[in-house]
Symmetry: C2
Subunit: 310 residues, 2 copies
Amino acid sequence: MTVSRVLNEPERVAPATAHKVRTAIQALGYVPNLLAGGLSSRRSRMIAAMVPTIASPIFSAPIQGFTDRLMQTGYHVMLSLTGYRPDAEAALLPAVLSRRPDALLLTGARRGPALRHMLAAAAIPVVEIWDSGPAFDILVGFDHEEVGREVATFLLAAGHRRFAALAASDPRAEARAGGFLRAVAAAGGQIIETRRLPAPSSMTEGRQALREIAPQLRGRTALFCSSDLIALGAITQARALGIPVPGELAVCGFGDFDAGRAAEPPITTVSVDGAAIGRLAAELLLARLAGATAGPGLRVPFRILPRGST
Amino acid sequence: MTVSRVLNEPERVAPATAHKVRTAIQALGYVPNLLAGGLSSRRSRMIAAMVPTIASPIFSAPIQGFTDRLMQTGYHVMLSLTGYRPDAEAALLPAVLSRRPDALLLTGARRGPALRHMLAAAAIPVVEIWDSGPAFDILVGFDHEEVGREVATFLLAAGHRRFAALAASDPRAEARAGGFLRAVAAAGGQIIETRRLPAPSSMTEGRQALREIAPQLRGRTALFCSSDLIALGAITQARALGIPVPGELAVCGFGDFDAGRAAEPPITTVSVDGAAIGRLAAELLLARLAGATAGPGLRVPFRILPRGST
DNA sequence: TTGTAGGCGTTATCAC
DNA sequence: GTGATAACGCCTACAA
C-alpha cells in the first residue's frame, strides 16, 4: 500500500519512506501492473478510438492530435480501424468495451439505436468527431452539408452554371455532395452528372470516374470531388483527354492534402484542421473524466482555399 | 467458470449448457472484463506500437497494416507517438510496459543498452520495423544506407556528376543521405552541398533549404532528399528561382507519397510497401505468440521509381 | 504517516 | 462436463 502511495500520491508519504521505496523499485526493476490497477480502481486509463482508416490524412491527423494530447496525461490510446464498413463499429465495439476504456472516440455522428444502446450501457464519455448532427454525448466537428453548400456558393459566385460531383460511398462524403447538389439546384444551376465511388477512393477511382462522365462534359463545368485525391485523379484524366483545367473543367476537392497543394494546377479545396479536432476531442474527454459536466462540444471551422484548379 | 469456458473454449461445454449461458449473457448485457482476464491469465491480448508520428504516410501505412491484421485476431493495438525525440522511447516505455502488452512494435533498430535492458526485462516479443541493423529480436525492414547507395547508382548511371543532399535530422533519413554521399564520393562524384533539416520536415523546410543552397548550384546537379515532401518543396523553390527541373536540377525523393506522384513534374522516388511491413510485423509477432521460435525476421524490398524530376 | 482487510472479475487447477 | 478454490496485483476503506 505504501508503494502504491509513493507512485500515485507521493505527497502523502514521508520523504524518507518514499526514498526507501524508490530505491527498492530501482533495485528490483519493479514495474507496476496497470491491468491490476485498472481492475481494482475501475479506471483503465485507456481511451479507445475508432476511425475508418489512418491511411488517409483525413483521419490520421485527428488521431495524431488526440494521441499526442492524451500521452501527456498518462492515458493511452487503443486504436481500432473500421475500414468504412458500416457495420464494423457495432461488430468491434463489444471487444473494445471489454477492455473497459475510460472513454471513447468515434468517427461521425450517425449511429442507430442499437449502437446508442451499447454506448449508453457502457456509461462512459463518448466524443464523436468529424461530423455534426445529433451527438450521442460530446461532438467536435463540422457540418458536411454546409461544406457542400459553401463550395456551391463559391463556384456559383465564380460564374459557374453547370455542375458535377464525385463522392466516395461514405456517409460524410455523400453529405458534402448532397449539400453541394441541393444548393446548386436551388440556385438554378444545371447538374450534369453525379457519381458514387467506392470508399476509400483515391486517384485511380477519380480518373476512372472522369473517364466515364467525360462524354457529358460539353461546355464549361465545375466538378466537386469528395476528396483531394479523387480531384487529382479527375484532373489527371481530364488533361489526358485534352480537357483544359480550369478552362473547361473547374475542380474543387476536399481535405487540403499535401498532394493537392503540390499538384499543377494546385487544387482548390476545403481545409479543416484535423489535428486540432483530435486535440479538442482529447481536451473535452479529459475535462469530463476530471468531473466537468461539459457541454455537448463544439463546431470547428472549415474554409475554402481557392487555388489554380478553379 | 462455465461462462468463461463458453466464451473461450466453447467446444468443451455441452451444447445445452452453452446455450443457457449465452441466453443469460444476452439477458444481462454481460460484457467480459479483459482487464481481469489479463491479470489472471497474464496475457493482455494487447500489443503496443511506438512510431515517431502517424502524420506522415511513412508511418501511418505500417500502423494501418499492423492494426488491420491484429484486429482480426482479438488483439488490440496501443499506440504511442515519440515525435522524433530521441529520448521519448525510453521515457514512454515504462508506462507502456506497465500495461503488460503481450508484444511490442518499435520503429528503427538503433537502441542503446539501457533500452535493450528494459526490453529484455519485459521478456516479450519485440518487432522492430522500418530499418535494418542489429535487431533486438524480430526485424522487418530494409537498409537505409543501401537505399542511398542505390539512388546514387541510379543518378550516376543517368550521367550526373555533381550532387547534393537534404536530410531530416532523423537517424534513418541521415543513413539514407550518408549511404548516398559515400557512394557518390566513392564513384568520384562531386558533392556540392549537404544540409540537415529539422524532423519532421515538410515542403516548407525543403523550400527554405533550397533557397539557402541555390547559390552553390552552378551547373547541372542531382539532389537527393530524405522524403518526397522535402523534394517537393525543393522543386517548388527551384522553379521559383528559375532553375529548370530536371534540366539544371534533378531531384529524387523517398517514400512514394501521393503528393510526389501528382506533382508536376512527378517526383522520382524510392517506394517501400509500408502497409506490408506492418502486416508482416503483425504476422511474425502472432507466430511468436503462438509459440513459434521464428527467425530474426526479414528484409523487405524497396525500389526506385524513375519519374519526371530526374 | 503507515498498515491491514477485502474485493475488483477473471482464469488455472484440481475435484467430482 | 461442470464446479469449487485460490490466485493474479492492485486500490478502497478503514484502523492504528
